[in-house]
Amino acid sequence: MNGNTPVLEIKGLRIALPKGADRPYALDGLDLTVNPGEIVCLVGESGSGKSLTAGAIMRLLPEPHVHVADGAIRFEGEDLLALSEARMKAIRGDRIAQIFQEPMTALNPQKSVGWQLDEVLRLHTELGKSDRKARVIEMLERVKIPDPASAYNAYPHQISGGQRQRVMIAMALSLSPRLIIADEPTTALDVTTQLEILRLIRELQEQDGAGVLFITHDFGVVAEIADKVAVLCKGELVEQGPAQQILNRPQHSYTQALIAAIPALTPPAPRDFTGAPVVLEAKGLVKTFAARGGMFSGKRKAVKAVSDLSFVLRRGETLGVVGESGSGKTTVSRIVTRLLESDTGSVTVEGTDLLACSPRELRRMRQYIQMVFQDPMASLNPRKRVEALIAQGPIVHGVDPKEARERARKLLELVELSPAAASRFPHEFSGGQRQRIGIARALAMEPRVIVADEPVSALDVSVQAQVLKLLGDLRDRLDLSLLFVTHDLRVAAQLCDRLIVMQKGEIVETGVTAEIFADPQHPYTRKLLDSIPGRGWTPPVIRPDAA
């Protein structure tokens, strides 16, 4: 540690929640120090209070319901909690800057990028108009936006997600703040973009020597960027220390459990499926989205989401479809289940072409191919009890309602939920539990194939590991075939026997997971693998006695 005063010093911070919340304090006794030139990662699962910490520092808590009850926040020795609102306004944006999770919502869609960057300088500096413009262009160059001059005039929706986040960073850094608070800045981005943004933050921060408080839920990102790590669990600081120590020798059982839950990058041993019967065969799938032009904007190009896609899925096998956003992987899952009509091609299940079925035949065929959705809250009808949700499919297909409900209760046991869950509504469950219900609903139909579209992306890591394990167990026990769509290669490595790597609607590489991980052939696959955050770090094997 150097002799400078810390940029940020938090002592015994306690944030009170309104009455009726699940706990009295969102944060209870947080101590944290950020030194100049240091990146401190605040790690925790959803609901751990990490984002409220950022709110408290910026004095942007939703008061009076949520307010600081106790403790001190000192910024370069100055107590932020005691400052007047006017003084605080001058500090915000000028000396403390924040980078948000979702750059699309953090930027004003009505104003051009240049205008918004210019505004920061206009509010906090005395610079003239042309000086400001020069400065903005310089900042855009620093964050490596291609063609800063045209980006200056672009509106937020006209540039890509990664570039929007670069603009946010440019905005945060334009006044050379002493402290940067980054609240999950890369969570909404693709892996390859994520890596670039992380490198950019690291590089710019080293140049300016600012302190960074980096809030994240992802230990991979921590391994990539952190100097120091603080782990939060339900508002309490359970462990804090240098990154190397926390990552490789975690002391607290919660940290150990979190790290143990991170999917390792070692794919399963290849299994041989050449003898197994084919349960699903897709041939020559093409899907083009006709873009609607506005009244004056003229015709826009149609977007090819999937072009000429073919694959086979054998019994008991798990085929992973991986790719970044816009690669067409979700479109594949929707075409295969015919929630979306394909332009051409065929999907053969049980000897019948699903895409050529009449509506009546299609309803009958649906029992063979079921789906688990990404967002378990959105995919369960909020007005139905769990029992009715699970029994719905079998009832539609002619099973006696009483018997179907009985089977629903058995399925709840199969997905490790208590039978008492049957009479509850979806909002009474946690995210992981809801996804279990979604899985039970798919299983109720006794399908041959389950299509899982990012089934664990909305879940915390520890829950993710449990749901993945459940899916794997069920697959082996019930001899199911899985079509597993994901953007997360770590998750794919857990479950998938074979992989299809997609880019811009086309398959760039396909093969056994272990072989692709060991020896990727296509440059895009290589880039994807290289971009996995924390790929250089192997989580330590922790004896399971703690958890």
Partner: protein, 291 residues
Amino acid sequence: MTLLTTELPKPEPHRAVLLWRRFARNRAALLGLVIFVVVLIMAATAGLIEPTDPLRRAGVPLTKPFVDWATPLGTDQLGRDILASLFYGARISLLVGVLATLLSIGIGVVIGAVSGYFGGWIDDVLMRTTEAFQTIPNFVLLLALVAILGSSIEYITVAIAIVSWTAPARMVRAEFMSLRGREFVDAARNLGVSNTAIIFREILPNALPPIVVYASVIMALSILLESALAFLGLGDPNHASWGNMIGQGRAVLRSDWYCAAIPGTAIILTVLSFSLLGEGLNDALNPRQKK
């Protein structure tokens, strides 16, 4: 510390209990409920407390209120008991209100749901039809319908429903358009559920809360429309309704104002109770809309 997440949280209290708690938090809504219950009791006991025909002559015409205890609220120019008319009028007003609301919401839900769920040309046809109705002012259309159908109480109810289904139809359509893209609808489709079942069993229950709230508005409007018709002398003369009473009281407004004022107050209070109830229902059914 365990991280296994299969343990369930404590069960929530029953849905009805939750709804009542949220409803009761709104004091004005409670007042609305009280008035509504009073009107209901009036309608239910119309034959019991005043066991006579409200259209029969009960005393000296134009007796002032609180003078003769046989007719506590006085009599109108034909000697009819105002209190009895008030009780029987509550029955008619509520009947017209409830039936017209059910009819108009029914039409609105079916048209809005089909239009919003299927979209495309079906939506175009249905919405242009709806707009055709919306371009004609409500009351003018109502007058025209009553003129054609005749002014018996059944036809008046149907006519009121015909002029007031357009707003709920548009509302249901908007709800359906936003709900049909949700994943749970895809999930139901993926189970092989038919379109009809998706519309009525999956989406409609989720679209209901705003419709229920809006029903209270339509209810109040129906009562007002019926009164307005009666005021113009187009009401059903064979039934004592509040509107009829005001319509007849109008003739003696300058000398015996109470003939019109008493039923007028009843209408104001009833309509007020509906709008307060609607507000309370909104709090109970859409708790996240506020704040």
